[in-house]
């Protein structure tokens, strides 16, 4: 077994503001092995996207990585020079964004945007780069790639644009792809196709994939492991089947309960009360306690991420027992 593709240790990403420091990512540690798909789940503001951007070194100022290590194939890239990061970005670590309507530059043709990506990392001729681009488009299921290369983004549908973005990410056969909710803006059928293709690509090429989403049902069928984030911290992590079938953290359980389909028709979906806390000047203790039905005095101290079974960690003083959910519990 070689070193994991990515190993994040105690990552802290802070945004200084006038009112105080926003700890968007607060001590997050995880690993992704070669060919593994990690589903990173959380609400808006949980820090999941910031985690992704931290790995790429693309945090908008004044935000910055305040602590921790990001080991990419053993190299700590939080200390890498801007030049070294540029070499890694797009070549070894690629990213796919949420909104395909916004990720392609509207005034540049697809071929320009793909060829420049090839040539940013390798000295190849325009002709060779174009051939690579066409090949990448074909690999993500775009028919007539030569013609599509001559299009402008606005001439393509949303699904098509996201395929172009994915093809662009795949140009250099990266070791790691960070996908930030790439299917949320798409039709369900297109979403299914893209999920299937991404999974296949990772299996075939050994690329590690971090799939960031707020939608548990998407990662349930895609990921090998799930990591649930809440207010900048990991609250539960484990193999996908374990976390979905036997969630231990009340928050994870709430997320699963709010997915349609688990309940009889017409029954009201479960809703987690309250909202994600603001990340400024957080009080000590468990960050979920104000929304949690199981909270007590013990929850005023921050629980550690404890391993309940191999690979299954929970940050909770009162985890549910390791038994499957019954429908009545889901509704509770």
């Amino acid at each position: 077994m070689t070193a994991p593709t990515l190993k994040v240790e105690n990552l802290e990403t802070h945004f200084p503001t006038r009112d105080g420091i926003v700890r968007a990512v607060d001590g997050v540690s995880f690993e992704v092995a070669q060919g593994e798909i990690l589903g990173l789940v959380g609400e808006s503001g949980s820090g999941k996207s910031i985690t992704g951007f931290s790995i790429l070194g693309l945090i908008d100022a004044p935000g910055h990585i305040a602590g921790g290590k990001i080991l990419f194939k053993g190299e700590d890239i939080t200390r890498a020079s801007p030049q070294r990061m540029r070499q890694l970005r797009g070549a070894r670590i690629a990213m796919i964004f949420q909104d395909p309507m916004m990720t392609l530059n509207p005034v540049l043709r697809i071929d320009t945007q793909m060829i420049e990506t090839v040539q940013a990392h390798e000295k190849v001729s325009d002709v060779a780069a174009r051939a690579r681009a066409a090949e990448a488009l074909r690999a993500v299921g775009i028919a007539a790639p030569e013609e599509r290369l001559l299009s402008y983004p606005h001439q393509l549908s949303g699904g098509m644009r996201q395929r172009v973005a994915i093809a662009t990410a795949l140009l250099h056969k990266p070791d790691l792809i960070i996908a930030d909710e790439p299917t949320t803006a798409l039709d369900v059928t297109i979403q299914g196709q893209i999920l299937y293709e991404m999974r296949k690509l990772c299996r075939d090429t050994g690329t590690a994939l971090i799939w960031i989403t707020h939608d548990l049902s998407v990662v349930a069928g895609l990921a090998d492991r799930i990591m649930v984030m809440y207010a900048g911290r990991i609250v539960e992590t484990g193999p996908v089947a374990t976390v979905i079938e036997r969630p231990q953290h009340p928050y994870t359980r709430g997320l699963i309960g709010s997915v349609p389909g688990a309940l009889p028709r017409g029954k009201r979906l479960f809703q987690i009360p309250g909202m994600t806390p603001a990340l400024i000047n957080l009080p000590p203790g468990c960050r979920f306690k104000n929304r949690c039905s199981r909270a007590d005095a013990l929850c005023d101290t921050m629980p550690e991420l404890a391993e309940l079974s191999p690979g299954h960690g929970v940050r909770c003083h009162h985890p549910y027992d390791a038994k499957p959910l019954t429908p009545s519990e889901t509704a509770a």
Binding site: R86, G90, A94, M95, L104, N105, V107, T117, H154
Partner: protein, 324 residues
């Protein structure tokens, strides 16, 4: 594209036609050319005789029609003052004005876009703040004052640059131009700075505002995520997006510069159309005023057409076909 151009040309023809009526009626109303043309000692009979020979005894609509028939053939009548065809007078002076306005505009863009881009991308640095403060100054200082100060400083105090005239010109493609001689450059630089300063300030502010907007776009972040270097992210991805609004504004401002270079031309005795217009208005030289206004309208229409075409080159989402 062709349909678009033809449609625009038809619109332009309409604009020019309406314009010609307005100009003609307006000029007709503001004074009697006989008062200037005929000496005060002339008898009433002489006056009528001259009025008849010039067609001034005819009703307005007939005069307008006569004017129009001649105008479409390029004949706007002879200048009362110079006794030469008025269109010829204007065309003779047009290169000087165009040259000045274009130089001013190019200077404004070449200086304004990089400064504005810098101020937008590094908006918290001292340099960016200094640029913005400077642009406020460039905006608010009156044109004539800037011109006079430049003359005081560079012509009077240091004696580096001449204060008036066009200097040496060379004929390029049958047009007398001064930007191709060193001496001509010396002459054009002060009036061009005077004319272009406020436009440069405008472009700085516009470039900064759009750059700040564009740099937050996902596609800029994606360009970085692809591993492109900053030179390419800024020089291609950001620059091409901010050039769309800048082209529009520059085009409109160029039209305004050509039409209203009057003050600068007067201060620097630049022998352009603007100075001719002022002189003609003072002397009630109708044919020249009318011809000037028509020429300016044609120029503005042409500039707008070019801007629209450039727009579609810069932004592929703009379709020149127009109506569906």
């Amino acid at each position: 594209m062709l349909v678009f151009i033809i449609r625009r040309l038809m619109q332009a023809a309409l604009v020019v036609a309406v314009m010609s009526v307005l100009v003609f009626v307006g000029i007709y109303l503001i004074g009697d050319p006989l008062a200037i043309l005929v000496s005060p000692e002339a008898t009433e009979l002489d006056r009528e005789e001259i009025a008849r020979s010039l067609g001034l005894d005819r009703p307005v609509w007939e005069q307008y029609f006569t004017f129009l028939t001649a105008a479409v053939q390029g004949d706007f009548g002879k200048s009362f003052v110079f006794g030469q065809p008025s269109l010829g007078l204007i065309l003779e002076r047009m290169p000087a004005t165009l040259e000045l306005a274009l130089t001013a505009t190019i200077m404004a863009v070449v200086i304004g876009v990089p400064l504005g881009l810098y101020a937008g991308l590094r908006h918290e640095t001292i340099g960016a703040r200094a640029i913005m403060a400077g642009s406020v100054l460039g905006f608010s200082l009156p044109n004539f004052w800037v011109g006079l100060m430049l003359i005081m400083l560079f012509a009077v105090q240091f004696g580096w640059l001449p204060a008036s005239g066009r200097g040496q010109t060379v004929e390029v493609l049958g047009i007398e131009l001064s930007v191709f001689t060193a001496n001509g450059w010396k002459h054009i630089i002060l009036p061009a700075i005077t004319l272009g300063l406020s436009k440069c300030a405008l472009i700085i502010r516009l470039a900064r505002a759009t750059a700040r907007e564009v740099m937050l776009m996902d596609y800029v972040k994606f360009a970085r995520a692809k591993g492109l270097d900053e030179k390419r992210v800024i020089g291609v991805h950001i620059l091409k997006n901010i050039m769309v609004p800048i082209t529009t504004v520059t085009g409109l401002e160029l039209g305004a510069l050509i039409a209203f270079a009057v003050i600068t031309e007067t201060i620097f005795s630049w022998p352009g159309m603007g100075k001719l217009l002022i002189d003609s208005i003072i002397h009630l030289d109708r044919p020249v005023v009318v011809a000037y206004l028509i020429v300016v309208v044609l120029l503005l229409v042409a500039i707008n057409l070019i801007v629209d075409i450039l727009y579609s080159v810069l932004d592929p989402r703009v379709r020149l076909g127009g109506a569906k």
